[in-house]
Amino acid sequence: MKTMKFLSTAIFASALIFSCSSDDDSTPEPVLEEEVITTMTITLQPSDGGADVVLQTQDLDGDGPLEPVVTISGDLSENTMYSGSIVLLNETEDPAENITEEIEEEALEHQFFYTIGNGLDAEADYNDADSDGNPIGLDFVLSANSVSSGSITFTLRHEPTKPNMGIEDAGGETDIEATFDIAIQ
């Protein structure tokens, strides 16, 4: 019986010791996600010197419940060439981290694709290349043709097959996909 008593005391005592030793823990540090892309800003600069058209999608809580906020600064003008550039930011960090640089560093493993929806009379062509001579797609040229409206989708694939014929056979994983409904006036 003595052994029983001793053992049970030992068990509860050790449980107590454990519990006492843990309360002085300091609070854990927060994790600021470094890879999240919260914001994609596409600036379309018209060749005729008019005002830039800016397309933006911003999802400040990443995978959280808030939906991305899409803003379009204005319409495109007919029969105009735009030089387009894409900037990616992680705005969960302060100051915001520019993810575009990472994409440039890993250009061989990334590529943007542009999908012009039915109805929109426009074309997009790559205007940059990685070290193998394949497009990255951070810079491009958008030709807005006749008056029309429709969607344009920007897709960033990670580890696609390069070179490829287009998004259909590119494979890889989608890092960004954003659709903008736009009009050509």
Binding site: I11, A15, S19, T57, D61, E102, G117
Partner: protein, 799 residues
């Protein structure tokens, strides 16, 4: 001391008065391998020196025994000597089987069991050492899969999670050498961290009846035990080498054991396994290699009346997850699921790249026990576990080679158990347990913690009673209580915190706001009761009827409580709820067993009703900058599982035998009147075995395994707009694959290489016909076929 002596006297006098000491103990001693009667075996009752020998008929008889427990030593010139505890109640018949060949341990088993029963009123299924060796290149899950009522939830060939009667993960408790495994088996892609080669015996209890281990095993308990040690001066060992064709791998396993007559023993075991990419019948499954290194040591000493046992094991594995299964949002999933072949197929490689997992599990245990004469047996145990889980995703930039999940779980447990022998008809098992656990998720991953920082305390106590009402009826009753306290530090996204209304419901747990996140400190308490009640009735010589009711309560696990965000390996957002309470299961199981030499069978129907069952199910589709992800939310509901497991075995003649197995389970969410997800489909296994012990123990078997299509499943499909094609497509996560039939071949033969060594050569071919199939319970079924044909050639040397 005086009280002690008085007590002993008192009890011995009572028992003496009530003793009826004219019982006999008879039985025969046979060779475990061929059933041959052993002549001239000496059986000695410890402390009385009463000794008898088996006659020419292999039969022995002890007379003038009381209703009591005796220690009997069984010895034979060609076998090991070992002691056993035998309970005599009226005239008792016990047969002993001796291992007469050169085998690793020359085990002696009583009625085929060297390991004691864990529960008296539930039929246990077990896998012994010989059968386990067949799975030496596989996993614990593969071995358990050979039992009826067990299937597995797979993520490739490396992650095999057992499902018992339809339940898995936290609902299954695994006891490894007396230690409850605490290895983060919360998610579906986390397999038990146990080396199958370290085990000497596996026992499966379908349900929570074995309360001495835990009270929260709503699904069941798996008990893994190391090989038993003999009390004899000897050194022996075993080394096996296997070549694996599918994956072009090799597996080496070795064990050496030294034991002494004075009770000291040491056993060291190590294993190594390396495979590369595996193959489906028509293509390579890229990035499915495995690298596993394990070691264990057991030492201590055992006597009839006291002993100490020390055990330490390290399990370390790295495994690749099919490259083509790593996809982002719903748009990517549509591509992956609709493609007839995996999206990524590379050339064969041994490299294990991201996505991959790396797990290290340390387990240490010290056990001391003492027989306290007539009063019973007391044991004390301390164990320590450290589990480190690393998961690597496909990442970008500086984080490329950094783990995206890095969790360290440390567990200390102390327990004391007492088994009473005081009464001949009533056996009591009781014990108390205390556990401390700490989880540390490394913030250096740069990805928000999947499982938060927490410390957890458990205190538990149980008592179980079993009694022989008469010669044919055993009753069992038991109860257990567990208290769990969790102290958690969890960062929530502010947007989630507010969308759940936690800001008005739980403002008191907020510690501070950090940018877009909120640090909270939930303190949770769970009070869980569990119980078991059962009876076993023996009739008509070979028949037994088991009845058991068990009540199990399980506290929600950290994943169910605190998930909040994208779970990359399942490409979905998972949301837990910190307000969950414990789920409570009621399981009724009846088993009819006939253990006859000509035809043996068991039929095990059961019904398991679980209140506040925690399920995860899709509720929404969330738009993110990476595409659309389905949102799965944990919810508590009432679930019911009804099923039956059937086993049958029929010897055609002395050498040829038929084995059959059938399992069926139906799971239903009663609140929604909807089938439960991931229920194993009905399956049939039929096997013909030829075994010739006169010809080098030649064994040849052919097994047919038929798995039906699962027709009952919740439809969780959803539509997604694909902007590139401007179409709406269905993301089909739910539709189960078709039924399939596999043939498996197994053969082995023993050669005596010298007086003290024996070589066993085995050839096994799984998926003999190289059938292409997809398994409903495999997470990778959406993206690729299952494994094709595999040749496994094994050389095993016993010395």
């Amino acid at each position: 001391m005086r009280h002690y002596a008085l007590l002993v006297l008192l009890f011995s006098s009572i028992t003496t008065l009530s003793q009826n000491c004219d019982n006999t103990l008879t039985g025969k001693v046979t060779d475990i391998h061929d059933g041959q009667l052993l002549i001239g075996v000496t059986l000695t009752i410890a402390n009385t020196e009463q000794s008898v020998q088996t006659g020419l008929d292999g039969i022995f008889t002890f007379s003038n025994l009381c209703n009591d427990t005796y220690y009997i030593q069984v010895s034979h010139p060609y076998c090991l000597t070992k002691g056993f505890k035998v309970r005599v109640y009226k005239n008792t018949n016990k047969s002993f089987k001796l291992e007469h060949h050169i085998e690793e341990l020359n085990q002696i088993t009583i009625e085929g069991k060297a390991y004691s029963n864990k529960s008296k009123t539930v039929l246990e299924s077990s896998i012994n050492k010989e059968e386990l060796e067949r799975f030496s290149t596989g996993t614990l899950g593969n071995a358990l899969n050979s039992l009826s009522g067990v299937s597995s939830l797979n993520t490739g060939n490396g992650v095999v999670k057992p499902i018992i009667n339809g339940l898995h993960s936290s609902r299954i408790v695994i006891i490894n050498n007396g230690v409850r495994m605490e290895d983060q088996r919360w998610g579906v892609e986390h397999a038990p961290n146990i080396d199958i080669n370290s085990a000497g015996n596996l026992t499966l209890i379908k349900g929570a009846a074995a309360l001495q281990y835990s009270g929260d095993a709503t699904g069941g308990i798996i008990i893994v035990e190391a090989p038993k040690m003999a009390v004899k001066d000897t050194v022996f060992g075993k080394t096996s080498i296997s070549g694996i064709s599918n994956g072009r791998g090799i597996s080496i396993n070795s064990r050496i054991t030294k034991s002494n007559l004075n009770g000291w023993y040491t056993s060291i075991q190590g294993s190594l396994k390396r495979t590369g990419d595996t193959e489906a019948p028509n293509y390579l499954l890229s990035n499915t290699g495995v690298f596993e290194q394990n070691a264990s040591i057991k030492f201590g000493f055992n006597r009839f009346d006291y002993g100490i046992e020390t055990y330490y094991s390290v399990f370390k594995n790295q495994l690749g997850i099919l490259r083509a299964s790593h996809l982002n949002g719903a748009q990517d999933q549509v591509r992956g699921i609709s493609s007839p072949i995996p999206l990524i197929i590379n050339d064969f490689s041994y490299n294990i790249d991201a996505p991959r997992q790396g797990v290290t599990h340390h387990l240490g245990r010290v056990l001391g026990y003492k027989e306290l004469g007539r009063r019973g047996k007391l044991s004390f145990q301390y164990d320590y576990q450290k589990n480190n889980r690393l998961e690597y995703d496909i990442r970008r930039g500086d984080d490329r080679n950094k783990a995206s999940t890095d969790l360290e779980l440390i567990t200390h447990t102390v327990q004391s158990n007492f088994e009473s022998n005081r009464s001949n008809t009533l056996q009591i098992k009781t014990g108390i347990i205390g556990r401390y656990q700490k989880n540390y998720p490394n913030p250096g991953t740069g990805i928000r913690r999947i499982i938060p920082d927490y410390t957890k305390y458990d205190l538990g106590a149980y008592a179980m009673f079993d009694t022989n009402i008469n010669e044919s009826l055993i009753m069992e009753i038991g109860g257990r209580f567990d208290y769990t306290h969790m102290n958690v530090y969890k960062f929530y996204r502010k947007s989630f915190w507010e969308s759940r209304n936690y800001d008005t419901l739980l403002p008191e747990i907020v510690v501070e706001e950090v940018g877009t996140q909120i640090l909270t400190q939930p303190k949770l308490n769970f009070y869980n009761s569990s119980a078991t009640l059962g009876a076993t009735y023996s009739f008509k010589d070979n028949y037994k009827l088991f009845f058991n009711y068990s009540l199990a309560s399980r506290a929600p696990n950290p994943s169910e409580l605190f998930s909040e965000g994208l779970h990359h390996s399942s490409a979905r957002v998972e949301l837990g709820d910190l307000r969950f309470n414990s789920e409570v299961g009621h399981k009724f199981a009846i088993t009819l067993q006939n253990n006859n030499e000509n035809f043996s069978f068991s039929i095990q129907p059961y019904i398991n009703t679980i209140n506040d069952f925690i399920v995860i199910e899709p509720v929404d589709v969330q738009e993110t900058i990476r595409g659309n992800f389905q949102v799965w939310e944990y919810r508590q509901t009432n679930a019911q599982l009804i099923g039956v497991d059937v086993d049958a075995s029929y010897p055609i003649n002395e050498k040829l035998k038929l084995n059959h197995q059938f399992s069926l389970v139906k799971g239903c969410d009663r609140s929604r009147d909807e089938p439960l997800i991931n229920m194993p489909p009905a399956n049939f296994k039929n096997e013909i075995v030829y075994k010739n012990s006169e010809y080098n123990n030649l064994l040849i078997s052919l097994q047919s395994a038929y798995v039906f299509r699962q027709n009952e499943f919740p439809n969780n499909n959803f539509e997604v707009y694909i902007p590139q094609t401007e179409t709406n497509e269905i993301v089909d996560f739910s539709t189960p694959p078709n039924a399939y039939h596999l043939l498996n071949f197994n053969s082995s033969i023993d050669f005596k290489t010298s007086n003290k060594t024996a070589l066993t050569v085995g050839l096994e071919i799984s998926n003999l016909l190289n059938t292409s199939y997809r398994n409903y319970l495999s997470r990778l079924r959406l993206y690729a076929d299952d494994l094709g044909r595999n040749f496994l050639l094994t050389f095993k040397l016993n010395y």
